[in-house]
């Protein structure tokens, strides 16, 4: 089974977000960069499917700055075979989901795949759009929010999370899948894995090398921080029951929520 996994390097979820001087970006000094957490499920699933089939390949594709190579190396250390790094600061600075999908689509066209995996969303812009756009551009069916995957006989049977439950779908391969938490337990890169990853081939390209000049379809006007939340009052009382009573009273009379 051959898979392509699209990954994105994002700020660690612990990051305290600050707005930069331009007002349209965030301060990146001191930020720790990680592979998008949902992409780890995507990488793991591609590796699992290759192992299960006993043959195949896992290629990683990422659009990002130079430093995105670290996320690609992490995926290679987990066990992926090759990488394509669309390293293009100018393109990346303006890339919205539409432009990102165009770049990924162009890079994927030269690769072999039965399945294309992505995380269900990147935890920076939280757009959750690239899988669908990629599907349209490559003319492939897309199943998002996958929590269970089995491939056999040229098709996949997948379970996707829906509101209040799950749906079981069948889709012919090749197809695109987005990974939701619960799909698997991503493995850690082993030390030998990390050593091997250093020698695995990564193709570095500019968007123009791939023939991509897709303009973004959205314009960022500004980024703002939410109003800071202040600590409110401590609910007082002699014991837990008294505090519960005081809280219920406050929710009823002050906040008018009961």
């Amino acid at each position: 089974m051959n898979s392509v996994v699209c990954i994105k390097q994002v700020p660690d979820t612990e990051t305290l977000i600050k707005i930069d001087a331009s007002g349209t970006g965030i301060v990146t000094d001191g930020v720790k960069w990680i592979m998008n957490p949902y992409d780890e499920f995507a990488v793991e699933e591609a590796l699992k499917q290759k192992e299960k089939a006993g043959a195949g390949s896992v290629a990683i594709v990422s659009l990002g700055l130079d430093r995105a190579i670290e996320a690609i190396r992490t995926a290679l250390a987990m066990g992926a075979d090759t990488g394509v790094h669309i390293s293009d600061p100018e393109f990346y600075a303006k890339a919205d989901p539409y432009a990102t999908a165009a770049a990924l689509a162009a890079a994927i066209k030269g690769l072999q795949y039965d399945a294309i995996w992505l995380g269900k969303q990147a935890v920076d812009d939280d757009a959750s759009q690239v899988p669908a756009i990629l599907g349209e551009m490559l003319g492939l069916p897309v199943v998002t929010m996958v929590v269970k995957f089995e491939a056999a006989g040229g098709k996949a049977t997948v379970t996707r999370e829906i509101e209040g439950g799950q749906a079981i779908l069948e889709v012919p391969l090749p197809a695109i899948f987005s990974a939701q938490k619960g799909l698997n337990e991503p493995r850690y890169a082993s030390l030998p894995g990390i050593m091997k990853a250093k020698k695995k081939p990564v193709d570095v390209k500019k968007a123009a090398d791939l023939g991509v000049n897709q303009a973004p379809m959205t314009t960022t006007k500004s980024i703002i921080l939410p109003p800071a939340r202040q600590a409110g009052k401590k609910v007082e009382g002699d014991d837990a029951e008294a505090k519960a009573r005081a809280l219920a009273k406050a929710l009823h009379e002050e906040a008018k929520l009961i």
Binding site: E163, L169, A244, I258
Partner: protein, 322 residues
């Protein structure tokens, strides 16, 4: 403002509340408001949309649409779009909306904006406000294509009834079956009437301090006492411990929620969790540890044993509710 088309999602035989919220908001922005909904045996739901301000309601009702299949729904809406020629398309950022909206936008060769919490008109174009980094920041952003396609987070706007009477039109769509590759084998939805966390007005959430899966019944009882608009949630710690399904997780790698009331029981308040619920109108924290970071964000803090506070609170809420 030129016309808006709203995709109104049908779930469990009813149009979702989020569709009414969006319809009311679109009405307040001006211009003609059309709505479309899709399903099998759902035609009778149309008048409800008129009540919230839809001038024109398009009904796509056929057995093909019994189950949600992205491609089939995209084709149907694209045909209605072709007819209505709206300049703005609004959907709910529900689980289905988040799947459908970017696929529809890609079909129409435009970009879209997901999970928007506010809309404003600037020079005839909609500028949207949407959370990024799970709500640690917001971006003001414009979709530059035509139409502008935007999914709206539930609970962002208030649904208001108006006196209007919308004209109802049934639309027969023709599907290109060769493009519909996905087959639905089964849909398993829990019978619960509880709202989804993203749509609930009250969420009672538990964390590591709940000590085990069996104790979540306490949270369910409190949610139940609050009424049908309440549900339960969980922190990442509780989900990773296997106490709760991931569908309950609130925070950066779970759901971002914005209820009227968020009760955090035994949740310390990691930055990822605070990002996911920080826009709740009122936050209550119940925790034994007075130093827990959650208290810095809580409107009401109860420093005590949650195993004593929760049952007592449930009793008090029931008393008030009568």
């Amino acid at each position: 403002m030129p016309g808006t088309l709203i995709y109104a999602e049908v779930q469990k035989g009813e149009i979702k509340k989020a569709a009414y919220e969006i319809t009311s908001k679109a009405k307040s922005l001006g211009g003609e408001v059309s709505a479309v909904f899709i399903g099998s045996g759902v035609a009778g739901l149309a008048p409800n949309l008129a009540k919230y301000g839809a001038d024109k309601i398009y009904v796509v009702d056929a057995p093909d649409f019994k189950d949600y299949v992205t491609e089939a729904y995209v084709q149907a809406i694209a045909q209605v779009v072709d007819k209505v020629k709206p300049s703005v398309i609004l959907t709910a950022a529900s689980a289905q909306g988040r799947d459908l909206t970017p696929a529809l936008a890609a079909r129409l060769k435009v970009g879209s904006l997901s999970d928007v919490v506010d809309l404003n008109l600037e020079g005839g174009k909609v500028v949207a406000k949407r959370p990024i980094y799970a709500g640690k920041a917001y971006v003001m952003v414009e979709a530059t294509g035509d139409p502008q396609i935007i999914s709206i987070r539930p609970n962002s706007f208030t649904a208001t009834t108006t006196a209007g009477i919308g004209a109802i039109e049934n639309v027969a769509v023709s599907l290109d079956a060769s493009k519909i590759k996905v087959v639905v084998r089964a849909v398993e939805v829990t019978a619960t009437k509880e709202p989804d966390q993203t749509e609930a007005e009250i969420i009672v959430s538990g964390g590591r301090g709940m000590k085990g899966p069996e104790n979540f019944a306490m949270l369910e009882e409190l949610a139940h006492a609050f009424g049908p608009t309440a549900t339960t949630g969980a922190s990442r710690a509780a989900v990773d411990a296997g106490w709760r399904d991931h569908a309950y997780q609130v925070g950066q790698t779970g759901k971002t929620v914005s209820p009227n009331l968020y009760v955090a029981a035994g949740i310390s308040g990691a930055i990822q969790h605070l990002a996911g619920m920080g826009t709740s109108r009122v936050i209550v924290a119940i925790n034994k540890d007075p130093e827990a970071p959650i208290f810095t964000k809580a409107d009401y803090g109860v420093v005590d044993d949650l195993f004593k506070v929760l049952p007592a609170l449930t009793t008090e809420v029931k008393k008030i509710k009568g």
